[in-house]
């Protein structure tokens, strides 16, 4: 027998003993009417709670409802203790006589999770205990014997300081009115809860809510009758309330079992629906929403490579764990996070449901995740392709401007100078020679500019001699010391070489422009089918890859080759630009 079972058996024995003891007390009471009926109803009620509670506890040990039901049962047995004859015990029993109601309210509000989920619930329960126990005391100061008008033989009230029935009645009303208010609030709360619930949860809540509300209503009538001094009515209702209450634990039990049965039904429905291989993201979401009874259920997929969340279409979404108004449950498949269910916070009251449902859906969600990853990739490619096209147009425009403003202007000036020299050739040879000298200088400038322009478009050294030589040339030209580590000597595919070259070129340009660095290091290494290029400086950091078009363009170039760019640039500790390109 497990430890839990043993403990439950012990609690059951204690419950039997408590019932027996109170029955003895009632049987020997000299101030209780209808003792036989009272004993019968009392045992029915107490043992119903304890018995069903233990059963629920045994079946759903992770759920606190069973334990709460047992507690309510024991709290009940404080009530018949009021039949005790000894004055001291009687006084104590009277103080705690109504604890039962508070415990019941706690159970009602805690269902079905078995714990109080919201601060409001906890406050309501605290108010219930305060009303039931603390507000019970003041009236006792003013009664020689409690319930004087109908309890002729009650023991002497040890708490009484003076006998003033009107004062006691006023204080009694001060307890009854908040109690009525509490009944109303709790009743409305659970009915609302039931109305808001969907599917499985709603089915589980129904018996509890209705048993609870009927019980609260009857208790309210009993209280009102007591206030109106209709003791006869109150007495009748007392028994009616007790009998109704004895039904409550069965309501809870049915509710608990229902939530388990409907979970099994939801689960089998889910499994059947997910067995269909052509599930779309939408269908899976609907199936999960139905199984969990949350029509607002959201699904987000985790892309571990990009470390971000996307929806079923692959569009990026905010981190679901940071959304305040909803709860998230991670779905794992073979140890890795696949997706997150974004659901109503109330579902957290059913962790087992979430767990079973997410376990059942893990494989289908993993497939959906791969789908979403693919879509995200396609979307990324689409936008980066658009950017590449735009960048190439921009480059053409720049080139046109450079050619037009540079070499072309110089050549036009040159043509003018030469024409002038030609006209002066005979008349003023000295001036013609001067013009020719100027033309030669102009020409040298034009060729220099054209050479630089050509290098910017594509460095010939890269094509002719490969990455090492091209990077060496970059390092030489850089306006700060650049240490170039070893570069693979073999020739690499042209797109890879070109991408690597422009990563270093752009990174070094940025270092020179912004980093305020004293030196930079460039390393290129080829391993496991990947070329890794790293440019590191000791400058001020704080580079934002999203801010400039240069790095963005590089990232696109790399993405086009299935590579990626990473920029790490914490403030004050330099910048590292890292690029990876597949290079078999």
């Amino acid at each position: 027998m497990s430890g839990l079972r043993r403990a439950l058996v012990a609690i059951g024995a204690a419950g039997l003993a408590a019932g027996a003891a109170t029955s003895l007390v009632v049987a020997h009471s000299d101030h209780t009417d209808a003792r036989g009926a009272f004993i019968a109803v009392s045992l029915l009620l107490g043992w119903s709670f304890i018995g069903t509670g233990l059963f629920a506890w045994d079946r759903r040990p992770e759920n606190g409802t069973g334990a709460l039901m047992v507690m309510v049962g024991f709290a009940w047995f404080l009530q018949p203790l009021g039949s005790v004859n000894a004055p001291l015990a009687f006084a104590i029993a009277v103080i705690f006589a109504n604890t039962f109601y508070a415990a019941l309210i706690q159970l009602l509000l805690a269902f079905p999770a078995g714990r109080l989920a919201t601060r409001r619930d906890r406050r309501l329960v605290a108010a219930a205990y305060f009303t039931a126990v603390v507000l019970q005391v003041p009236q006792l100061f003013f009664l020689e014997t409690p319930n004087e008008d109908y309890c002729d033989n009650c023991p002497e009230n040890l708490l009484a300081v003076m006998d003033s029935v009107p004062t006691a009645q006023a204080l009694s009303a001060l307890q009854a009115l908040p109690a009525l208010a509490l009944f109303a609030v709790v009743g409305v709360t659970v009915i609302r809860r039931w109305r808001a619930a969907r599917g499985a949860q709603r089915a589980a809540l129904a018996p509890v809510v209705w048993a609870g509300v009927v019980m609260l209503a009857m208790a309210a009538v009993q209280l009102v009758a007591g206030l109106a001094a209709q003791q006869g009515v109150a007495q009748i209702f007392f028994f009616a309330v007790l009998t109704a209450m004895a039904a409550v634990p069965y309501g809870f039990l049915v509710g608990l079992l229902r939530s388990r049965i409907s979970r099994a039904a939801a689960l089998s429905g889910l499994v059947t629906r997910l067995a269909d291989p052509v599930e779309s993201d939408r269908e899976i979401r609907d199936a999960l929403a139905e199984a969990l009874g949350d029509p607002q259920l959201g699904l987000t997929y985790w892309l571990p490579d990009d470390e971000r969340w996307v929806d079923g279409s692959g569009a990026p979404v905010p981190d679901p764990t940071r959304l305040g108004h909803v709860a998230t449950t991670m779905v794992r498949h073979e140890g890795a996070t696949v997706a997150a269910l974004v659901h109503d916070k109330r579902l957290e009251e059913q962790p087992e449901l979430l767990e079973t449902v997410s376990a059942a859906a893990a494989l289908a969600l993993e497939n959906q995740r791969l789908d979403a990853a693919l879509r995200a990739r396609v979307e990324e490619l689409r936008t980066s392709r658009a950017r590449i096209v735009e960048a190439s147009y921009a480059a053409r425009r720049r080139l046109e401007r450079d050619l037009h403003d540079g070499a072309q202007q110089r050549l036009v000036a040159l043509a003018l100078d030469l024409r002038l020299a030609r006209t002066k050739f005979d008349a003023d040879p000295a001036a013609a020679a001067e013009l020719l000298d100027a033309s030669i200088a102009e020409l040298a400038q034009a060729t220099d500019e054209l050479r630089e322009l050509a290098r910017g478009i594509h460095p010939a050294v890269l094509t002719d001699r490969g990455l090492g030589a091209a990077l060496d040339a970059l390092a030489t030209r850089a306006p700060l010391p650049v240490e170039l580590g070893s570069v693979p000597e073999e020739r690499l595919p042209e797109p890879v070489e070109t991408a690597a070259y422009f990563v270093v070129a752009e990174a070094l340009t940025n270092v020179a422009k912004y980093a305020e660095a004293t030196h930079a290091e460039v390393s290129v290494e080829r391993a496991n089918g990947t070329l890794r290029v790293e440019v590191r400086d000791d400058g001020v950091g704080g580079a934002d890859p999203a801010a400039g078009t240069g790095l963005r363009g590089l990232a696109d170039r790399l993405a086009a080759l299935d590579g990626r760019l990473e920029v790490s640039s914490p403030d004050g500790s330099g910048t590292v630009v890292r690029a990876e390109v597949p290079c078999a």
């Binding site: 030669i440 050294v461 001699r465 060496d472």
Partner: protein, 214 residues
């Protein structure tokens, strides 16, 4: 002096031929690609082979490869390589182990006729000619704890001219100082850079280039 010239642009080739012939240099053969060049060099055994780097069919570095081949096969033939753009890598590879009779110039230099003819002559006499642009790149390279910082501006000028392959005499003429003064600068430079001095110009070029390449 006899030269063979390879340049696929006919316009430029004829311009260079005219300049050379004006300077009294005999152009023994003209080639439009590297194969043609090799054939004509083998046939004419000229003093200098002048070649463009980029030539048909692939327009990459045919000329450079032909130059290496000539150096290996006919060491007595000087090689002057013309390049559309300056890449120190080409120059340094070309001059890597023996700078005697090797030149590397930017194509634009042919416009500066005197300097170009001077370079051709140097190469034909077993000296070296490195384009000033390459030299200034090498000198301009930023280094950490740069020992070049210890050189005086005049010493830097002298170092640059040395790297171009000029003799002390030529350096003296260029800077308008005495040869004696140049020698003093050279000694000072070599001691500051911790290099071993050598009287032969083309070995001196190697030492300086090796140093600058570090």
């Amino acid at each position: 002096m006899r030269v063979v010239i390879a340049e696929d642009s006919v316009l430029l080739r004829e311009g260079i031929v005219r300049i050379l012939e004006d300077a009294g240099i005999e152009v023994a053969g003209q080639a439009g690609d590297a194969e043609d060049l090799l054939r004509k060099v083998r046939a004419h055994k000229p003093d200098v082979a002048i070649t463009d780097i980029r030539m048909p069919p692939s327009h990459t570095d045919e000329g450079l490869r032909a130059a290496h081949e000539i150096r290996g096969e006919l060491p007595e033939v000087g090689v002057l390589v013309l390049s559309q753009y300056v890449e120190q890598g080409y120059a340094l590879d070309l001059l890597a182990d023996n700078a005697a009779g090797v030149g590397y110039l930017l194509k634009d230099r042919v416009g500066d006729v005197d300097a170009f003819i001077d370079a051709v002559r140097r190469v034909s006499e077993g000296g070296s000619a490195l384009d000033p642009e390459v030299v200034s790149q090498l000198l301009g390279r930023k280094r950490r704890d740069d020992p070049l910082d210890e050189l005086t501006p005049r010493e830097r000028e002298v170092l640059g001219l040395m790297a171009e392959g000029r003799s002390n005499q030529a350096i003296a003429a260029a800077l308008i100082v005495t040869e004696r003064a140049v020698e003093k600068h050279v000694t000072s430079i070599f001691s500051k850079l911790d290099l071993v001095n050598t009287p032969e110009d083309h070995r001196r070029v190697l030492a300086v280039l090796a140093y600058l390449r570090e």
